[in-house]
């Protein structure tokens, strides 16, 4: 079967700009800050079907709060969020360099997306469980997870809490409400739903929050998780972090030119919120709204956090190969740290010198953690006992690993 290729009309979406082109974002459909009304949490879903096509924003360009989507904040909450985000950024910068120095194999930054872990981490309860992606270390930062443990995990050294078994940054921290990560994208989205159903089954009002990248919404896992969440009215908040890119692939390949990711909620008859992910207060308010629904038995909410992946995908990536190098700096919704800082300054609760002090203190904390980690050893210099390779395959080892340990002589 041959054919005249020139007549082909298979449509393949392309982003509006590539390296060398002037940056263009196409139609982002940004609602003005404050323009979207906040419905009651028990509003029937048919009344909410326009929400996914709007963008929930609370901070205007001057850093002032506008509109009805206001988070319910305790004293110091915003400062806590700022600290976690600034710490995340400092940690990321340092670990990226550490990888470049050959001290570990791999790293991934979350620059631009620090609000998405930090804010829900603070807005949710201790008993709630987060099912993260690999770009959510800010959740742990907000809950004061020891930096040393992060560093040791990244170095796979003798003190690695995961015993050298996992790729750097694929943390697990049950006590901090942070579910075990893995390299496969998408395959834990449904675990969040199962966890939430277990809580409902027990009659406990803890909830789960699950995350998935916009690129990964294409996986069947996404759909199956939403179907279960909807059918069993699971107490779960399901979040799409739409950072516009999936490695080198723009969001249009996941369908962004056809509709919004929040609109996928309509397929399951649950509310879908589209939220400015660089607006800490909007993220907070949306998380609280969805969490309140979940906790009171009203079921799942899908939230699209609209943001931008300001750096490369990982240490293995060079984004200059597929997008204009100044695209990040032109993102129309700015930077979440800067915007929160501006808001806090506008509130009179923050100033440049306190910010500088914060940056100094997180840098020091990161330095100390790295120093400790290096003292234990970087990748290859130090590792847990080789016995650990053979542990934990099952609860009790079977003859195979026992024999094989023997072959290795341990």
């Amino acid at each position: 079967m041959t054919n005249d290729r020139r007549s082909g009309r298979l449509r393949v979406p392309e982003p509006s700009s590539r390296p060398g082109d002037p940056v263009e974002f196409g139609d982002l459909a940004l609602s003005p800050a404050g323009a979207v009304a906040r419905p009651d949490i028990d509003a029937p879903e048919p009344c909410l079907r326009d929400l996914p096509f709007l963008l929930i924003r609370t901070l205007d360009d001057a850093g002032n709060v506008v509109g009805g989507w206001l988070p319910d904040l305790a004293d110091g909450d915003l400062i806590r969020a700022l600290k976690a985000m600034v710490l995340t950024r400092a940690f990321d910068e340092r670990m990226f360099k550490i990888q470049r120095q050959g001290k570990t194999s791999f790293y991934m930054k979350s620059r631009g997306e620090e609000a998405l872990g930090a804010v829900p981490s603070l807005a949710l309860r201790q008993g709630d469980m987060c099912f993260p992606t690999y770009r959510l270390v800010s959740w742990l930062m907000a809950r004061d997870y020891p930096l040393e443990d992060l560093v040791n995990q990244i170095f796979s050294n003798a003190q690695d809490p995961l015993k050298g078994r996992q790729l750097p940054i694929l943390y697990s921290a049950r006590d901090y409400g942070f579910y075990s990560l893995s390299g496969n994208v998408g395959s834990r989205f449904g675990h969040a739903v199962g966890w939430a159903m277990a809580k409902a089954y027990r009659g406990i009002d803890d909830i789960a929050i699950g995350y998935i990248g916009e690129g990964t919404t294409a996986e069947g896992d996404f759909h199956e998780a939403l179907t279960f969440a909807s059918v069993y009215r699971a107490p779960v908040v399901l979040c799409v972090t739409n950072n516009q890119w999936a490695i080198s692939t723009f969001s249009g390949i996941a369908g962004a030119q056809e509709t919004t990711f929040a609109a996928k909620a309509i397929a399951y008859g649950i509310p879908g919120l589209r939220v400015d992910g660089n607006d800490v207060l909007a993220v907070w308010a949306a998380t609280q709204w969805a969490a309140a629904r979940a906790r009171s038995g009203l079921g799942a909410t899908l939230i699209e956090f609209f943001t931008y992946r300001a750096e490369g995908h990982s240490t293995s990536d060079d984004p200059g190969k597929y997008r204009p190098s100044d695209e990040a700096s032109k993102w129309p919704l700015g930077d979440p740290v800067e915007r929160l800082k501006q808001h806090l300054i506008a509130l009179g609760e923050w100033d440049d010198s306190r910010h500088a002090a914060l940056e100094e203190s997180v840098a020091e904390a990161v330095r100390a953690a790295v120093k400790q980690g290096e003292a234990v050893g970087t990748l290859g210099q130090s590792k847990p006992s080789v016995k650990e390779m053979f542990e934990g395959v099952f609860k009790e080892p079977d003859w195979r690993v026992l024999e094989q340990r023997g072959e290795v002589g341990i």
């Binding site: 469980m129 099912f131 809490p161 995961l162 015993k163 078994r165 996992q166 694929l170 697990s172 921290a173 049950r174 579910y179 075990s180 893995s182 496969n184 395959s187 834990r188 989205f189 449904g190 675990h191 969040a192 739903v193 199962g194 966890w195 939430a196 159903m197 277990a198 809580k199 089954y201 789960a208 069947g220 896992d221 199956e224 998780a225 179907t227 279960f228 059918v231 934990g392 395959v393 099952f394 609860k395 079977d398 003859w399």
Partner: protein, 337 residues
């Protein structure tokens, strides 16, 4: 004690565990009100409540993913995949998640789930209601795979699987749900009633995973089998008239390698029987283990009796199925050489 067929024994295991442990719950396609297309969950919803045995969307990956999330939280979900042929959409969840969760999280999260699924042929189910996928699970580090061959074992092993803190694939040989089929398809169906292993305690008991059963002692050749093939092998041994030792593996992971090695060292010969296609099947592992560990005791090469390397064909079911004649032929062959 009551006389039970395998379906009743499995139902009794589930009933027992639902009554005993509030962390146990069951879901899967059609398992709720209806009680499952093979009736294994019959009346369990009525007896234990809507939220303890309920229908699931047709999404095997989603079923297993949901179970893993529940298991991580602390429950012990038991899910049914309607046919083992339909377990494949859940394969990624089983391999990448269930099997690896304990290891990668250093035990912070585990997946104490049981995935039950009717498998195997001999029911004119055609290509997609007949397959035996055990080999694709046996290779996966972190998964246990259990296959009973009698009602007594079915209940005891299923309870052990549910109580196990690791993920277990529990494959139910559907051809012997109602009776101990020996592969002679022309003959009238025998029921479990006459079989000693149909005497099943109504209460809780469990059979340790990883312990094979010696179904028949013998001196001349060891036959390794599991599931339906245990009964077929017995018939093949009778046909061949050899003094064979028949071992029912009961679980292929963990595998009772000691029982295998002891037997083959004694008999010096080994025939391996499974219904799955031969190439790349679990018989290869068994053959390799036997060669590696019993080489100097072997009087003849190990032989494999298995399904052909074709899909499972509807009209040719009995040409495909490794029946007693093929077992007998292999036995005769190893005894000859």
């Amino acid at each position: 004690m009551a006389v039970m067929n395998m379906i009743q024994a499995l139902n009794s295991a589930l009933d027992t565990m639902l009554a005993r442990d509030p962390d146990v719950l069951i879901f899967g396609e059609d398992v709720g009100y209806f009680g499952g297309v093979f009736r294994v969950t019959d009346k369990l919803q009525e007896k234990h409540g809507l939220d303890r045995c309920f229908d699931a969307p047709i999404a095997e990956g989603g079923i297993v993913a949901t179970a893993i999330g529940m298991g991580a939280e602390g429950l012990r979900p038991v899910v049914e995949i309607q046919f083992a042929d339909y377990i494949l959409p859940a394969y990624d969840q089983l391999v990448s998640e269930a099997a690896r969760l304990r290891y990668r999280s250093n035990g912070e999260f585990t997946a104490p789930i049981t995935v039950r699924s009717p498998y195997g042929g001999g029911i004119f189910g055609g290509q997609t209601h007949s397959q035996s996928p055990e080999a694709i699970f046996a290779h996966i580090t972190g998964l246990k795979t259990v296959i009973p061959s009698t009602p007594y074992d079915a209940k005891g092993l299923l309870i052990a699987a549910i109580e196990c803190d690791d993920p277990v694939i529990f494959l139910e040989p559907k051809r012997i749900y109602n009776g101990p089929f020996d592969g002679r398809h022309g003959q009238a169906l025998t029921s479990w009633a006459q079989h000693p292993a149909a005497q099943v305690p109504e209460d809780h008991y469990s059979i340790a995973l990883g312990k094979a059963a010696i179904v028949r002692e013998g001196a001349d050749v060891t036959v390794l089998a599991y599931g339906t093939m245990v009964h077929v092998a017995l018939a093949g041994i009778a046909d061949a008239g050899v003094d064979a030792e028949l071992i029912d593996l009961r679980s292929i992971v963990p595998l009772d390698v000691d029982a295998i090695v002891a037997s083959v060292k004694k008999t010096g010969r080994c025939v391996i029987v499974h219904e799955a296609s031969r190439f790349g099947g679990f018989g290869g592992e068994l053959s390799a283990l036997v060669t590696e560990r019993c080489f100097y005791h072997l009087k003849a090469p190990t032989q494999r009796v298995a399904g052909w390397d074709t899909p499972y064909p509807h009209a040719f079911e009995w040409d495909y199925f490794p029946g007693p004649d093929r077992v007998a032929k292999a036995l005769a062959h190893v005894m000859e050489v």
